[in-house]
Subunit: 220 residues, 2 copies
DNA sequence: GATAACTTGCTGTACGTCAAGCAAATTCAT
DNA sequence: ATGAATTTGCTTGACGTACAGCAAGTTATC
C-alpha cells in the first residue's frame, strides 16, 4: 500500500484538496452548531479526520478559517438563490407569480440549509464581524429579497412602505427556521417536517399577497 | 432591617442587596452583548464594581448566575407583557382592536428591551439550555402570542392555519429587533429610531389584519 | 532530495472555581 | 454601654484546565 499503487488516494494518502474541504465542512458544522467561541480548532481537526494542527496549517488561524467558512457558505447561498430567482423570473407571469416563486425559493433554500441559517444567526449576534463588513451582507438572502422587494414596489401601493414590507417578508421567511428548536417547538410546528415549506408558502401567499392585492385593487 | 439609622447606603459600605443586583445587571448586559461563553465572570465583577470573586460568592457558579439572569428577565417580560395584554383586553373592542393592541404591546416591549431579545437569541442558538426546559418557554412572548392567536382563531378562517398564523405574527414582531444590527441596517431601517414601532404596528395591521378580515368577509 | 503535507510538543494566556484571609456588621455576655 | 465572639460580605492567591498559535519534527510525493 505504498509506492507503486496510485489508486489508493482515498484517505490514507495525502490529499490537500480533500483535507481542505474536509476541514471546511467540519468547521462549518461545528461553527453552526456551537458558534465561534464554542468550537476549538482541535475538535475541528478531529471531526475532519486530521490532526489538531492541520486546520492552522491550511487556514493560518481560527479566525481566517471562520471567515473562509462564511465566505463559502455565502457564495453558495448567493449562487443557489439567484439561480432560483432567475429561473422564476424567466418563467414570466405577473408580480404575484414572481412573488410566490421568490418566496418559495427562499423558503426551500432555508429549509434545505439549516447550517447556513445558524451561521448567520451566530454572526448576527456577534455583531456581524464578517458579514457586516461584507459588501454582500446577508449575501443571497438580501439580494433575493431585494428582487422580491423591487417587484412588490412595482405594485406601487401608496399605503405600504416598501422597506417595512421587505422586512416583513424577511421575517416571515427567516423566523421559522431560525427558531426551529425553540419557539416553533412551543407552537407545535416543525419546519423540518415534510409538508412545512409548502404549507408555509401557501400561508404567506394567503396572508400577504391577497392582502396586498386587495389593497392595490382598492386603490390604496 | 437594622436598628439605627441607615442613610449611608451610598457605596462605601457593604450592601449585599445592591451588590447582587449590580452583578445581575452587569451580567445581563454582558451576557446579552457577548453571550455566555464570550463573557467572563471577571469582567462581570469589574462592570458591577466588585472584585472578580464576588459573582461566585453570591451565585455559586457562572452557570447559576446565568440562569438567575434569565429567570429575572423572563419574569419581567412576562409581567410587563401580560399586564399590557390584560389592559388591552379590558378595553374591549372587537378582535381587530385586540389584535392591534396585542401586537402593539409586543412591539413596544421588544423595542424597549433589546437585551431581552438578545438574551433569548443567544439562548436559542445555545439549544435552549435554560429556556427550553422552562415551562414558560419564551415566557411572556409565547404567552402573549397565544392570547393573540386565540383571538385570531375566533375569526375561524377555514383557509388560514392558526399555527402558521401564530408563527407569522411572531416573525413579524420579533425579526426586526433580533436583526437590528445586521439585516435591518442593510434594508435601511432602524428599529430603534423613534417612529419605527408605530410605523411597523400600522404596517402589520395593514398587511395581516386587512388581508385576514377580507378573507373572513369573503367567507374563506 | 527538495518541497509540500501534515503531526506533535511547547508556550503563553485566559478562564472558572475553590480556599484562605480580612474587615464590617451583628449578636451576645456582662 | 462595651468589648468579645461570631457571622456575613467581599477580596486575593492559587490550581487545574483548555485553548490558539508557533516551531520543530516526520513522512509522502514529485
Amino acid at each position: 500500500m505504498t509506492t507503486g499503487a496510485k489508486r489508493a488516494h482515498t484517505k490514507r494518502t495525502r490529499n490537500p484538496q480533500a483535507s481542505r474541504t474536509a476541514i471546511l465542512d467540519a468547521a462549518e458544522a461545528l461553527f453552526a452548531g456551537k458558534g465561534y467561541r464554542g468550537t476549538s480548532v482541535r475538535e475541528i481537526g478531529e471531526a475532519a479526520g486530521v490532526s489538531r494542527g492541520t486546520p492552522g496549517y491550511f487556514f493560518g488561524s481560527k479566525e481566517r478559517l471562520y471567515r473562509a467558512v462564511l465566505e463559502r457558505a455565502s457564495n453558495a447561498a448567493r449562487a443557489v438563490l439567484s439561480g432560483a430567482l432567475e429561473a422564476a423570473a424567466a418563467k414570466g407571469g405577473g408580480p404575484e407569480a414572481l412573488l410566490r416563486e421568490g418566496v418559495g425559493a427562499i423558503l426551500e433554500f432555508l429549509s434545505a440549509r439549516p447550517r447556513y441559517v445558524r451561521l448567520v444567526e451566530w454572526e448576527s449576534l456577534g455583531g456581524g464581524r464578517f458579514l457586516g463588513s461584507s459588501p454582500a451582507h446577508l449575501a443571497g438572502m438580501s439580494e433575493a429579497l431585494s428582487v422580491v422587494g423591487a417587484e412588490v414596489g412595482r405594485l406601487s401601493l401608496r399605503r405600504v412602505d416598501p422597506q417595512h414590507l421587505l422586512v416583513s417578508l424577511m421575517g416571515l421567511c427567516w423566523f421559522p427556521f431560525a427558531h426551529a428548536d425553540t419557539l416553533m417547538a412551543g407552537v407545535g410546528l416543525d419546519p423540518r417536517a415534510p409538508g412545512f415549506v409548502e404549507a408555509h408558502k401557501e400561508h404567506i401567499a394567503d396572508l400577504v399577497l391577497r392582502g396586498l392585492l386587495a389593497l392595490a385593487e382598492s386603490g390604496a
